[in-house]
């Protein structure tokens, strides 16, 4: 009997929701089942209708409370301002670091020089 090898409605139901948008195709046994099963045919038709309607929802827009656009642009301004401040801060830190390094270098030279000077009398 061919029907012995056919899947049940429930087994087909799993595949129907995937097949509705064409992403998956039913395997041949499932397709044979659907061809002979009015209930599964109806279910497949329901999925197709549902998916068509879901796609159409994208054009349905929610109405945001007034002021959202101003808030968004304000947040962007604020973020850009803080970013600039951070960058400026980093630049200041960089310049400060350079100055400190230079100062350290200079004082190092002074120490060496003074040590050198101190050694001189000993050598003399």
């Amino acid at each position: 009997m061919r029907s012995d090898t056919l899947p049940t409605c429930d087994e087909v139901a799993d595949a129907l929701s995937g097949a509705a948008d064409g992403a998956l195709s039913l395997d041949p046994p499932a397709r044979r089942h659907v061809e002979h099963c009015l209930r599964c045919q109806a279910e497949a038709a329901q999925y197709r209708r549902m998916l068509r309607t879901l796609r159409s929802l994208r054009a349905d827009l929610a109405e945001p409370a007034p002021g959202l656009l101003d808030d968004l642009l304000g947040a962007l301004d604020e973020s850009a301002r803080r970013r600039r401040a951070r960058l400026t801060g980093r630049r200041a830190a960089y310049v400060g670091g350079l100055a400190a390094a230079t100062a350290a270098g200079v004082s190092g030279v002074i120490v060496l020089a003074s040590r050198g000077r101190r050694r001189l009398p000993l050598a003399g």
Partner: protein
């Protein structure tokens, strides 16, 4: 909800290019052209006006910072949907430390705003209206996947990446979401599968 009158792809493309070159005004314009749609997606994902506002704001901040990484061959709207999905997921995940409603939450069925009342839903008229209600009734983690896939047409891979789940998990959720939506929409109709859980009966009928 109202019907949209979206800007043309060319308009958007020009603005994106200018904004990527550092034209801040162009980006502001881009925001004003797209924010209602972004808000609509955020609202669908979060089910809450306040959350949707937060998500939209975070999304545009991230879009602005990441604009240089946007590849011109992708659609700007798709790119923005992905960012919004990711922000919504993060936002609800953060919030769910206090409440159980994150997109990735395994605890089901916080029924938001939806009446579990088929008669009222049918009376509301069009399939579209009933679908809105049925979507609101889905748990957030199922709703996110079906909204992103079937309403906004994001590929499975993108959905999985933005929600932080595997592709196979995304597919399973989509499948479950569709099943529940269909059952919600068509329950009680003459051709509805209202005995879908009775395997023995279904099996008996098939042979």
């Amino acid at each position: 909800m109202r019907r949209s009158n979206p800007p043309t792809p060319d308009e958007i493309g020009g603005l994106v290019e200018a904004a990527r070159d550092g034209d801040r005004e162009a980006f502001d314009h881009l925001v004003s052209q797209t924010y209602v749609e972004t808000y609509s997606l955020a609202y669908r994902l979060t089910g809450d006006e306040e959350d949707a506002r937060d998500v939209v704001q975070e999304s545009y901040l991230r879009a602005y910072r990441g604009l240089r990484r946007f590849r011109g061959d992708a659609q700007f709207s798709t790119w923005l949907y992905r960012i919004t999905a990711n922000c919504a997921s993060t936002h609800l995940g953060r919030r769910s430390r206090h409440r159980h409603d994150e997109l990735d939450d395994e605890l089901p069925d916080e029924r938001v705003g939806g009446p579990g009342n088929p008669e009222a839903a049918v009376e509301a008229g069009a399939l579209r209206d009933r679908l809105q209600v049925a979507l609101g009734d889905l748990p957030p983690r199922l709703r996110a996947v079906v909204v992103l896939r079937d309403v906004y047409d994001l590929p499975h891979e993108a959905i999985a990446a933005e929600l932080g789940i595997s592709v196979s998990a995304a597919k399973v959720r989509l499948h479950r979401a569709r099943r529940r939506l269909r059952e919600d929409l068509f329950a009680g109709s003459a051709d509805g599968r209202d005995d879908g859980f009775d395997e023995s009966e279904a099996g008996a009928r098939a042979v």
